[in-house]
């Protein structure tokens, strides 16, 4: 008892460890008892100062603990910068032996107090005993942040821009197991004057951590997280330095990286792994020679940016130690089957380089070039064809004969003009068309007809019907199920009405958005119905739709107003308003018939429809010039006037004669200007309700939510695209003329950042055409204006149009021509303009278009061999052919 007390009070770390190790079983038990009893009082004496009793306590505790579980029972607290304490604690644990340590590490990584505060200790133990990285992902993350990354960062985890006056205290902590069972520990606080010096101090931990992290999927991201995607993390320079100094085993590191790349991690991880591989292979590319096959195996599945690096490495390796003909051909087959055009160019350039340097492999290289002809990119095919034609004569006749068969095999994929030119340039190829070698043809699905409207049937008032409708509503939230339920409730017996009003109506309620006028109207109407039914009142439902999209036939409205007029039972104001905006515009006779009813509500309806009904809310498009700085709009207003660049938007005219219904909100009827346009981007879940509110005015719906469609085109958008995909089909299901808002919504969607948006846009364009609501002249003008303003991107538009051109046919030619025209007219044609030209070249022969486009002719006559120019010449040729 006296011995342990004395050691803790005034001994040294080393003497504590030595003494405790030498005790017999009884002494150990007694000492443990004393330590347990006095833990609290010793802990109070502090943790951080040098030579404090608490560390002696911990060293003794670790040495005496029966097992790892007992060792974990004491919370260690921090132990600051005391290198001696750290080292002796490490030694105390390491001396317990492999099994004990294994259990200790396992428990420590799961223990909330041990981990992550003592990561250094755990890392040193794992490295010394060659234990696998503990499963807890926080361990490497914490080590990387607190140690490695901290060398390059300030206290706020920002990379240091300048290293003037750099000085860091770096803790070195390593344990080496000696053959006699002893453990040699090195623990010191080393002052580093550069991050590289610091990293060298940490090299043992880093070496082990790097190996362990590369063995884990996406593990490399723990090392270099949050760095700009295209930048090289500064730690990599240090890594290169450590590799050069031999502190890392270059071959083992390369092996780890190849294994990680084969696994196929996240894109960012792959990019980092490829960068590290390039770094490791920098001084001697031959180090990669044993991995040639594996590198080739990475080409099909790795991300394009990683493949770019891998291809570069293969190219360098090929220079130092040439690949076999089969290996190179495989690289060609894989790379030319990928979609990245940059990689195609790289591979072609490699092939041409090999042609000169490796004449013995020319047949295989030519085979690789023939594979390149399969790439679906006209300018590239043309380039390859020129390369093939130029080199063909350098092959032996027997080789030429063998290659002609390969050439014929890819013929169906080669642009006919390119193939014809090729056949003219080299002998042995047939230039006559081969019908049987045409690519597989699938039938083109006919343009879908407009989805027909289904009449809304009154269902029998039965308990089973309620349940069925509620189940339908829960699954689809459709206008149909919602309105049928309301209709059922209004026709129910008084007692049932009272009982069901609250539970049923509460299921139907949409969330009321303060700044979304249509949602407010929907909510207030439901509230009105629920209140009346809960009272047991008879509610004359006149807004019950005639069709499943919410539309009311004028005749139906006439009948209902006549019936309630006779009964002297006026409709609820919200229900009446909804009936008016839902009704298809009546003809003059029907308006006259409304007047003959004589009730106040019938007269209001007649006046409203006589003034034009909802058609009064006309939309007009305009370009808003935004010369000033971009500003943040208030949350509920769109950003048309503050985006900092010109925008194509619409103005929505208000109702000149709004329905004269007292005490209901009519802000929505005022319309808007670009400056006051609603934000409308956050489509709520109730786009079907919205269609049901304005079933004959898809144009007004689109106008209200236009900013949401515009936002889907932003490069950073990752959410609007999905909203657009939900809302656009519903808006199209609302009928009525399609004006600028609907056309703009479709164009914005087609140019969306997300695929969902572009697919919805393509579908909507086909719908507009099928419903005969597509206004070609308007679309032509709008596409020109939007491309000019930069809100529609030609590349994305071309991708979307490519999906529908076969189904839609020549009706889209004016739109395509206009888009091409404006893109070529711009001082610097926007990126992706050549894709529009390529698309036009694809469709023009089938559509039998022959015409002259001045700007195209001018562009085609220009000098150069950019993709834009090559495609412009091809289209010009086809239009003139």
């Amino acid at each position: 008892m006296h011995q342990i007390e004395q050691l803790i009070a005034s001994g040294s770390y080393a003497s504590t460890l030595d003494a405790a190790r030498g005790w017999n079983e009884k002494q150990r038990r007694d000492a443990q008892k004393w330590l347990t009893a006095n833990e609290a009082s010793i802990r109070k004496q502090g943790h951080d100062e040098r030579g404090c009793p608490w560390f002696r306590f911990l060293i003794a505790w670790m040495t005496l603990a029966r097992d790892a579980k007992q060792a974990m029972a004491i919370e260690p607290g921090g132990y600051g910068h005391d290198a001696a304490a750290r080292g002796l604690l490490l030694k105390a644990v390491a001396l317990r032996g492999r099994e004990w340590v294994e259990e200790f590490v396992k428990r420590a990584t799961q223990h909330r107090h041990w981990h992550p505060a003592h990561t250094d200790l755990l890392v040193a133990l794992c490295a010394a005993f060659d234990l696998p990285l503990p499963e807890d992902p926080d361990l490497p993350k914490h080590w990387c942040f607190s140690r490695l990354r901290a060398l390059y960062c300030d206290a706020y985890q920002n990379y240091l821009a300048r290293l003037d006056g750099y000085e860091r205290v770096v803790p070195r902590l390593t344990a080496t197991l000696l053959p006699d069972g002893d453990v040699e520990v090195e623990s010191a606080n080393v002052v580093a004057h550069t991050p590289v010096e610091g990293a060298a101090v940490l090299v043992a931990g880093w070496r082990w951590m790097l190996h362990a992290l590369l063995a884990r999927k996406d593990g490399i991201l723990h090392l270099w997280n949050y760095y700009a995607e295209d930048a090289t993390p500064p730690e990599m320079t240090t890594l290169a330095d450590l590799l050069d100094r031999g502190l890392f085993d270059r071959r083992a590191f390369i092996g780890d990286l190849i294994a990680a790349l084969i696994r196929g991690d996240a894109v960012t991880a792959q990019r980092l792994q490829a960068k590290c591989l390039a770094l490791a292979a920098m001084p001697d590319i031959r180090a990669l020679a044993p991995h040639t096959e594996s590198l080739l195996g990475l080409l099909p599945s790795n991300h394009g940016s990683a493949v770019k690096g891998e291809l570069e490495l293969l190219r360098r390796l090929d220079k130092a130690s040439p690949l076999t003909a089969e290996q190179f051909l495989l690289a060609c087959q894989i790379v030319f089957a990928r979609k990245e055009k940059g990689l195609h160019d790289e591979q072609l350039s490699w092939a041409l380089q090999r042609w000169t340097t490796l004449p013995a492999q020319r047949p295989a290289i030519m085979r690789g070039l023939i594979v390149a002809l399969d790439v679906d990119d006209f300018p590239f095919q043309k380039k390859v064809a020129v390369a093939v034609a130029e080199r063909w004569a350098e092959l032996e006749p027997s080789e030429q004969a063998a290659l002609c068969a390969s050439m014929a095999a890819v013929r169906s994929a080669v642009e006919p003009s390119v193939y014809a030119a090729l056949a003219g340039g080299i002998g042995g190829l047939s230039a006559t068309p081969l019908a049987e070698s045409a690519p597989s043809q699938l039938p083109v699905t006919a343009l879908a007809e407009a989805r027909p409207l289904k009449p809304l049937v009154s269902l029998p008032v039965k308990a089973a019907t309620y349940k069925e409708l509620l189940a339908d509503f829960d699954s689809a939230h459709s206008v149909l199920a919602c309105e049928q339920l309301i209709d059922l409730l209004c026709r129910a017996r008084e007692s049932d009405r009272k009982a069901l009003a609250v539970p049923v109506m509460s299921r139907l309620k949409p969330v009321a958005y303060e700044h979304a006028p249509l949602e407010v109207l929907a909510f207030q109407r439901l509230h009105e119905i629920q209140t009346a039914l809960a009272r047991g009142d008879t509610y004359p439902l006149i807004s019950r739709p005639s069709y499943d999209n919410g539309s009311i036939e004028p005749e139906d409205l006439l009948t209902r107003l006549r019936d309630i007029g006779r009964a002297g039972l006026p409709a609820g104001p919200m229900d009446f308003l909804l009936a008016l905006i839902r009704t298809r515009q009546p003809d003059p006779q029907q308006i006259e018939a409304l007047r003959t009813i004589g009730s106040a509500q019938a007269n209001v309806a007649a006046d409203f429809f006589a003034a034009g009904g909802m058609a009064q809310m006309a939309s007009q498009w305009q370009i808003v010039e935004n010369a000033g700085q971009a500003r943040s709009p208030r949350s509920y207003l769109a950003n048309w006037t503050g985006s900092g660049h010109p925008e194509v938007c619409v103005t929505l005219q208000g109702l000149r004669v709004p329905p004269a219904i007292p005490d209901i909100p009519m802000e929505w009827a005022a319309g808007y200007t670009p400056a006051t346009a609603p934000e409308g981007a956050d489509y709520c879940m109730y786009e079907h309700y919205l269609t049901g509110m304005l079933p004959n005015n898809g144009e007004i719906l689109a106008a209200w939510y236009l900013w949401g469609f515009r936002k889907a085109g932003h490069d950073t958008d990752t959410s609007c695209g999905k909203s657009v995909a939900l809302a656009l089909p519903a808006f199209l299901h609302a009928r009525g003329p399609a004006g600028p808002a609907l056309h703009l919504a479709v164009l914005f969607a087609m140019s969306g950042n997300e695929a969902e948006s572009r697919i919805a846009g393509s579908d909507a364009l086909l719908d507009l055409i099928a419903q005969q609501r597509y206004d070609s002249d308007l679309a032509v003008t709008l596409v020109a204006a939007t491309i000019d303003c930069g809100s529609v991107k030609p590349g994305r538009l071309a991708k979307s149009l490519a999906q529908v051109v076969d189904a839609a046919g020549p009706v889209l030619w004016p739109l395509l021509r206009s888009a091409i025209g404006v893109a070529l007219t711009m001082a610097s044609p926007p990126a992706g303009s050549h894709e529009l030209l390529a698309l036009a070249s694809r469709v023009v022969p089938g559509w039998q278009i022959r015409e002259s486009i001045e700007i195209l002719a001018k562009t085609a006559a220009g000098k150069g061999s950019s993709k834009l120019l090559v495609e412009a010449r091809r289209l010009q040729h086809m239009l003139a052919d």
């Binding site: 084969i262 594996s294 699938l442 089973a464 529908v804």
Partner: protein, 457 residues
């Protein structure tokens, strides 16, 4: 995990480069063969004609089994493929970690240079180091494949290898039965040649979360048009990124066939199957109707299980011996059953996981997993609940509906246009896409019991 029956591996599967050739040993666990349960059966030992195809196919399976497409996570627990040797071909089946992608690699007779394979079903060990080594196998290599232990393995394994148990999760069992049942209902929707496939896949958006973009595809000239809405001729692509594993084989693909169920404009989601033709092999990927849905929960078997003709299935099952393509006509002749009865019997066997369906051949193949039908049925509490409802007399016919008293409330089941419909929340939410609810199942069981036994030939 099913560990009790399947046991352990005698050693880790390995790939070794030798002086004269390369050696790939896929270790087997306990397998079912025509001779009953065999520990570590040997299905094949010989050279492969296209090692690169086998290696790339296995790598694609490894990628799928190690990927959670829905809500991806980096650390996925490794699972072992189920391998069936049908005498002339070897079929390896796996599911993705999210259970939403089923993949089957069929290595055909050409791959084995016409050599004879064994018969049986077991699991093989494919470990991460082996998966990495497969990347280095090329077409011109001479590769000796052992599916089963080598003599060397059996003599040295005990000293050097720490036994690893077979990793076959419970839900794979249900999913293996579900997928075959679903596959039998699919029809050919499109066929693309290598060029058309390349163009299609290169234009396919893959970004958008773990599973990528969900869409419908419509035939359009030389390719498939992407659309957001179902259509009579449409094919579902629920999660474009779930086809990513195929990229490993992109340069080997000769043609692609796409299968799907009949679609109409009201179809919310649908399954699709993609069959890739490779030199001497075929790879089938079946995608669940939505990325977040695993095959084990599809409920496609529920109706069939409720009607399973156990006796017929047993009779048919006894006649099967790991046939690569089961001929229903031959079975009909051997048993004296009608074609319809054989068809139902095979369906019942599929629900028991005893046969798989080969879309290309349009035939069932024998693949017997080492568990019984009762083990499968215990995974279907809905069916148990339906049987309990019938037994307690909770099903009562009404004028147009059937009223099912469940707990303290009623649900109404009707069959408008012959299609079932229920008023319960489960049916309202899924509309039958996860199989019938317990109320519909109960009414179906009730109607069958009322109508008496089904007429038989």
């Amino acid at each position: 995990m099913i560990e009790d029956t399947l046991g352990t591996y005698p050693a880790a599967s390995s790939y070794t480069r030798l002086a004269t050739h390369d050696s790939l040993v896929l270790q087997t666990a306990t397998g079912l063969t025509p001779h009953g349960l065999v520990t570590h059966p040997l299905f094949f030992s010989g050279n492969l004609s296209r090692p690169d195809v086998a290696a790339a196919g296995l790598r694609a399976l490894v990628e799928i089994v190690g990927t959670r497409y829905y809500k991806p996570v980096p650390d996925v627990v490794w699972k072992d493929p189920v391998v069936t040797a049908n005498g002339d071909r070897l079929r390896c089946e796996v599911f993705s970690a999210c259970n939403g992608v089923y993949a089957r690699l069929d290595l055909l007779a050409e791959t084995f240079n016409g050599a004879v394979l064994g018969f049986g079903t077991t699991n093989v060990d494919i470990n991460p180091p082996l998966a990495q080594a497969l990347a280095a196998i090329r077409a011109h290599d001479t590769l000796h494949l052992n599916v089963g232990p080598t003599e060397l393995t059996l003599t040295t394994a005990a000293d050097q290898y720490v036994e690893r148990k077979v990793q076959l999760p419970e839900r794979w069992i249900r999913a293996l039965a579900e997928t075959q049942s679903i596959a039998a209902m699919l029809g050919l929707r499109a066929r693309l040649d290598a060029t058309a496939w390349q163009r299609f896949i290169n234009a396919l958006p893959m970004a958008g979360g773990g599973a990528g973009v969900s869409m419908w595809l419509l035939p359009a000239g030389t390719t498939l048009r992407q659309t957001g809405r179902p259509h009579a001729e449409a094919i579902a692509l629920p999660g474009s990124a779930r086809l990513t594993a195929v990229k490993r084989l992109s340069h080997l693909i000769q043609a692609v066939k796409i299968y799907g169920p009949a679609i109409d404009v009201d179809t919310q989601a649908a399954v699709s199957a993609w069959e890739f033709f490779l030199p001497g092999a075929r790879l089938l990927l079946m995608l669940s109707p939505e990325p977040y849905r695993g095959f084990s929960g599809e409920g496609a078997l529920l109706h069939a299980l409720s009607q399973a003709e156990t006796d017929d299935a047993l009779t048919l099952g006894a006649l099967l011996a790991w046939e690569a393509a089961i001929e229903p006509a031959v079975l009909a002749q051997e048993t004296g059953f009608s074609a319809e009865r054989v068809h139902h019997g095979l369906q019942a066997l599929a629900t028991a996981g005893q046969v798989g369906f080969d879309l290309h051949e349009q035939r069932y193949f024998h693949r017997q997993l080492p568990y019984t039908q009762s083990r499968l049925e215990k995974n279907y509490p809905r069916l148990d609940a339906a049987k309990a409802l019938v037994a307690s007399g909770s099903v009562r016919p009404d004028s147009t509906h059937h009223r099912v008293r469940s707990e303290d409330h009623d649900q109404w089941v009707s069959f408008p246009d012959g299609k079932p419909r229920c008023t319960c929340t489960f049916w309202g939410k899924y509309k039958g896409s996860r199989g019938p609810c317990k109320h519909i199942l109960a009414v179906q069981l009730y109607l069958e019991s009322v109508a008496g036994t089904t007429s038989r030939v």
